[in-house]
Symmetry: C2
């Protein structure tokens, strides 16, 4: 029995089943590589009687968390339940019981990751979480290890496949937000309650994790400024395309002298940039390091198989550590709390779409407000006109400006008697090669 | 003295100097991370008196290889000399002397990598070579570790920045091959003798290394079919663009039931694919694994700083091993020699450009040859006509066909009395999302 590395699997849904399948499929390879097999000793489930596509004996399935976490023949607890609690408490109990842990849980790592890693380090145990960001795309490994010699200056990422699918549909003229969301739900890409994805929570968790590794500071998810995609209109995609841009839900982190910019919001990015071309359910992470320059990673950000790829990679690394007696081989260096730059101090360029009264002097009033708020206008284009209502649609692009000034300008512009409404306000991110 | 990890640096050119600079710049971080400093104890140079931008004391610089390799206070030998010999012998001597090795040398790893890894494993030592492929872009780490749970089915890559720069210039209409090469040489992207890059040798070495890791088989560089970029004409870039393609020097590896396809040659790839959009000196590696699906890695493939990023990452990993007493932690699993599928058996689509006699019946003769060789034509387009010479230029695209049949067809078409010459013959690679 001691020949195998014993796994306590918490959760046997689609991801847990994929892990079990992959371990079965790769059993011979894993034994050759690790000198030991990987065996699922316990699998924590809610219902013992449900039919499953991966069959387990009754000695494996359990509804008792303590059994799955603390059994003597379990060496590592693999958590694929999702949600902060009870997953977080289970992982902590696993560490207390002397078990290594592997988790796909972005919420737990984003909110309790540093504490769990410290708890583990004190016990000479490992915490793995490659599957928590970017599905099977290697990100945690490269950030912890391969890019460690770099001073990471900034990061731009698309970390949520659901919203990227919706935005890709909207950009292709496949309907407005509600239509694209319904289609994503029909295909199983979006949850019945899509809030977590479309409001940017999921992206913020993942950005907090990548930022923690890149900047070696603990980042609370609530330090990430967050704006979702629900207010984007089809017209914005049309005008963005005309201007040479795509609209993406970006997760952005930038190191500034005064603190780290941390933000998730829709942004115009050049359609000729790689990030602007990553469509559908794909994710992309683009980092800029002082040594490597720009490096980009692209792949499917979710799904049971990609996630199982990441979890098994973690188990392989753990297997190497067990083989070499090298627990807690990579030290936890996250000792500081990040200082987040307030959103009001962030600089960027802006895209503004307005409906205005179609009469002379309108542009003079708008440009006067911008001038007073120190905002330099790059271009103003009149798009549509509603003759009956006597209104015209205007798109305005600014040069780089401070968010606070821009917010004030937008408020003042919206209050002008010649302005019917500010229809859209989207930041622009430049991603030079 | 034992507090530091001692480095014997072989070569103090641009890369060696960048490594020294990075170690100096990151000294505090590395000590915090590894619990020890990294100190260059010896640096092997040709000329002791040359002025260098990284100053070393006279006790460090040496012209004696034995001194740099075997000194008692050297724990790891970092080789950044380039070329197969004497670099290969130096690395072997280092292992014999009980030193770990880190190398940026693709020729050595492609030709002697497996033997060196075995030699090291027998001595409980590590061989690192992240810098040998893709500059600072993490590839070796992800291939050895993060993607290890995958059965890699195929890989498409642009692994040479020099040729990608030249092809990008040609695609932009910045002159023919000779002009673009001269510009690349002027900018220092191409060597005075560009053979190694433009004939695909460099890409073949790197493909052999990535293929070795992906397929866990030793691949000799001469098993890689190789065709350079010197015969590409401006007209091909123009027509490719019209048809929706870019032309790239691709390094391709595909697992087939009968063996592994291994080939480096120019190829038409969709301009709307990410690979088709990677321009200039950037590299890209796109792998398809059974679990992750497609994953892409993009970054600068060369340069002193990116290379130093990879070398220092290797030194960090080694430092973790030394700290944990976990030498040779990742086993060498490469025990078989790859069976390469002969190029004649490879299937792909083809682009053919011909000058033909401008008279009726020409197309009938060409299509008859294709039909007899079981080659299905997707489209034939007449492009230019030279009225005075009575000739017309034709571009022909085929459906998927076997290379041997296509070669026969091309020979037969070239011999037709109505065909003046076969101007170009380029394979087409499809890269679906």
């Amino acid at each position: 029995m001691a020949y195998a590395i014993g796994i306590g699997l918490l959760g046997l849904g689609t991801v847990g089943s994929a892990v079990a399948r992959t371990l079965r499929l790769r059993a011979a390879y894993l034994e050759r590589r690790l000198g030991r097999t990987l065996a699922i000793r316990r699998a924590l489930v809610r219902d013992l009687t449900r039919l499953r596509d991966v069959p387990f004996g009754l000695e494996v399935l359990t509804t008792d968390p303590a059994d799955a976490i603390e059994a003597r023949d379990v060496d590592v607890v693999v958590e694929v339940m999702g949600g902060v609690e009870p997953a977080h408490q289970y992982l902590r109990r696993a560490l207390d019981a002397g078990k290594h842990v592997v988790t796909a849980n972005k919420e737990v790592i984003a909110t309790h990751g540093v504490a769990l890693m410290r708890h583990a380090a004190e016990r000479n145990l490992d915490v793995y979480f490659e599957a928590s960001v970017g599905g099977g795309l290697p990100l945690i490994g490269p950030f912890r290890q391969d890019l460690a010699a770099n001073d990471v200056r900034e990061m731009h990422a698309i970390l949520n496949g659901t919203t990227n699918y919706i935005l890709t549909q909207m950009a292709a003229g496949q309907g407005d937000y509600a239509t694209a969301l319904a289609e994503a739900q029909r295909l199983g890409y979006a949850e019945p309650d899509p809030t977590n994805d479309v409001e940017g929570h999921d992206s913020a968790y993942k950005l907090a994790i990548l930022g923690m590794l890149a900047f070696e500071s603990e980042i609370r998810p609530d330090q990430v400024y967050r704006e979702g995609i629900t207010k984007l209109a089809s017209a914005d995609f049309k005008y963005a395309a005309e201007l040479g841009y795509a609209i993406k839900l970006l997760a952005i982190a930038k190191q500034r002298p005064e603190g780290i910019e941390l933000r998730v919001h829709p942004a115009l990015v050049g359609r000729d940039s790689v990030v602007g071309q990553v469509d559908g359910v794909y994710n992309v992470v683009r980092i800029n390091g002082d040594l490597v320059g720009n490096a980009l990673f692209i792949g499917r950000g979710a799904g049971p198989e990609p996630t199982s790829s990441a979890i098994v990679a973690d188990l392989i690394d753990l297997g190497h550590n067990l083989r070499a007696g090298a627990h807690a081989r990579v030290p936890v260096l996250i000792e500081t709390q990040a200082t987040a730059l307030p959103m009001s101090a962030v600089r960027s360029r802006f895209y503004l779409r307005l409906w205005v009264t179609d009469r002379p002097g309108v542009l003079a009033k708008i440009t006067a407000v911008c001038g007073e708020e120190q905002i330099s206008i790059a271009s103003i284009i009149q798009k549509e006109a509603d003759v009956r209502a006597g209104q015209a649609e205007i798109v305005l692009l600014t040069h780089s400006a401070v968010e606070a000034a821009m917010q004030t300008a937008v408020r003042r512009i919206g209050a002008l008697d010649v302005v019917a409404r500010v229809a859209s306000f989207i930041r622009i991110e430049d991603l030079p090669e």
